[in-house]
Symmetry: C2
């Protein structure tokens, strides 16, 4: 049961397992998609305020539970950071504009890393948006 998994994750991170935090975490764990505050407020089946989602996601981001990205409209979107997702090595993402699905791309080759050494990088952000195969065929 994914609800119990969500509770355990919160406990492991020394965070209170409240009704709303469980709901948000469970929602994001369900699929490899990224959502904005507004989308979550609409899609979550519980009553929850935008400010609450905002603060919950801030905590989740600090704890490394979610990855925050910015879509091409400039809106913040959040994705669950599961074990398969290689967060330690930064990499680009593809996002389907229709179904919100996120696909990870390989890490960057060395010719990039050399250039990056010139910078003191504090944030790397790569996002491509398009339409995925499944959505194209529908």
């Amino acid at each position: 049961m994914s609800k119990q998994i969500a509770i355990n994750i919160l406990k492991q991170h020394s965070q209170r397992a409240t009704f709303r935090r469980i709901a948000v975490l469970e929602f994001l764990m369900e699929q490899a998609k990224a959502y904005s505050l507004t989308e979550m407020e609409r899609l979550l089946s519980i009553n929850i305020d935008r400010a609450t989602i905002y603060r919950i996601l801030q905590i989740f981001e600090t704890e490394g539970l979610v990855i925050k990205m910015i879509d091409l409209n400039g809106t913040c979107i959040y994705m669950f950071n599961n074990q398969n997702h290689n967060d330690s090595k930064k990499h680009p993402h593809l996002r389907c504009k229709k179904c919100d699905k996120i696909v990870c791309l390989p890490c960057l080759p060395n010719e990039y890393m050399d250039k990056l050494d010139d910078f003191e990088i504090n944030q790397i952000y790569f996002l491509m948006e398009g339409t995925c195969k499944e959505c194209l065929s529908n």
Copy 2:
């Protein structure tokens, strides 16, 4: 004289060379940096409204004179698209958070392009933010 160059560019693109358009284009041509609407409103030495800059940049983007990106705050930033800048082949950019300087990175390797074929990409957006060598040494 860069003002005359700006006028010529506007004429080549069949756009009216108004006082404000010349100023905006000249400003962006001066350096390889990217600015937001608000920054331009502040930094331009002329009186100009945010809405006007907004509409001017819309035209410039359509004409391929500027490249629009989104910084890590979700704010749109605009950079002059000069001849050296290989716009036909999409590539990532590095931006210095202190001096706003933009550095182009190489085009993406084939292993990326293969994955991209699965998507019908309508927008590619890569941006990294950090601090450049010069700013680090100051």
